[in-house]
């Protein structure tokens, strides 16, 4: 009997192969931007998923603080880890796109600035989890950071936007978004599904790890209590 997990993993691998084929072989090369435009098929999905991950961390954190049920904390923690990964990929793929198109690896545009600051807030979240005392207290502190990060996100964007509009743009942006050709749009959709499925799978795996860790701590406490008695 093949488990749902294995089936999912296999389907995900197939999906990944298909989207790679679509991205690099099937989708037409962009007339203006050239082959580097293919970075878009990675960049857009990982960026969207990174934003979703932040929202999921906030939801998990709020529900955990409200109900005190551990599974919501495991969920928030797993989502933060996966979110930092996706955010990191969004920053890297963005830089790969930026170098040939904008002529710089990085520009302090509102979206880029916001992404980078949020990435640091959630790296801080993970550091806090590593340094905070294990158990309920660490989970509560992390939940507070998760909520603050989500509340702060729109303010950071607003501030960065206001900041950049008061300064002249240093480099030309990609300009107004043109409409994608239908093959490009389909490739983007497939890539989006692939990244979302990968994210959900990794999230679930990390969630299971968190649960196993909690069970392990509980068991070792039981053993210790038995030995002591």
């Amino acid at each position: 009997m093949i488990s749902l997990r294995t089936t999912w993993l296999a389907a995900n691998a197939v999906l990944m192969a298909v989207s790679l084929w679509m991205i690099f072989l099937w989708a037409p090369t962009d007339a203006n931007l050239g082959t580097v435009q293919r970075a878009l098929y990675f960049h857009v999905p990982v960026s969207i998923i990174a934003i979703c991950a932040i929202i999921l961390v906030a939801i998990g954190s709020v529900v955990f603080l409200a109900t005190g049920r551990q599974k919501w904390d495991w969920f928030a923690y797993a989502s933060a880890e996966t979110g930092v990964l996706m955010g990191g990929l969004a920053l890297v793929t963005g830089a790969i796109w930026g170098r040939p198109i904008w002529n710089v690896w990085w520009t302090w545009d509102a979206k880029l600035t916001t992404t980078l600051i949020l990435w640091f807030i959630f790296v801080g979240y993970l550091m806090l989890r590593a340094y905070a005392p294990p158990g309920a207290q660490g989970a509560r502190l992390a939940a507070v950071v998760g909520i603050i990060g989500a509340i702060d996100a729109p303010i950071i964007y607003y501030a960065a936007d206001l900041w950049r509009t008061t300064h002249p743009q240093r480099v030309a942006g990609p300009g107004a978004e043109g409409s994608l050709e239908s093959e490009m749009a389909l490739t983007l959709v497939v890539s989006m599904i692939t990244v979302a499925s990968t994210y959900a799978y990794v999230l679930l795996e990390r969630y299971r790890v968190r649960r196993s860790e909690a069970e392990l701590i509980e068991l070792s406490q039981k053993v210790r209590a038995t030995v002591a008695a």
Binding site: L65, I117, L118, F120, I121, V123, G124, M127, L128, Y131, A132, P133, Q137, R140, L141, A143, V144, V145, I147, I148, G149, I151, D152, I155, I156, Y158, A159, A160, L162, W163, T166
Partner: protein, 223 residues
Amino acid sequence: MSALGPVWAIARKDIVLELRNREIVVSLLVFSMLVLIVFNFAVELTTVNLAVVGPGILWVAIAFAGVLGVNRTFVLEKERDALDGLMLAPVSRDAMFLGKALGSFLFMLVAEAVLIPVFAALFDVSLMRGETVVVALLATSGFAGAGTVFAAMAVNTRSREIMLPVLFLPVVSPLLIAAVEATAVIADGGGWGGLGAWLQLLGVFDVLFVAGGAILFHYVLED
């Protein structure tokens, strides 16, 4: 008064302690002035770039000193387990938050009252105006509010010295942007008109972090 009683009692405790040893304000001041001096060597300042670069240097100094200040107010509580005593007191967590934040706010403000004129004199930036006071008040409330939440968290972790700035600095980045830009407008000779959006941003941040801090503090310091 009854609702604000505990807030004032906690703030007063910190103020009395500070009046006796002057530890926090003096360290804030010395450290922030050193940051100004370090920047003076690190960045080649000319009359051309001063109005642009100067406000940034000032607020970096204040933000870094603020990290030390809020950290100190909680390390003092942690030593000899005073924090446990405070948590046992029949005082709500939001009153505790407001009291601690008020103390940090006042200490930072006193340090700024010396630092900003010194900065204006050292770097020849004209900041001695009413607008500067408003910007400093708004920005410092935000720093104190967010700083108090994170300091209370960091004090309970290993390596708290690194945990506080790592959490605090990215979260207050909108505040820093707004304070720097507003100060640049003032240094440039612009009046209230050019400050509108920045003051609004500072205000929104303050309201969110003081109210949010008061609500979330309950979870930060739960026994």
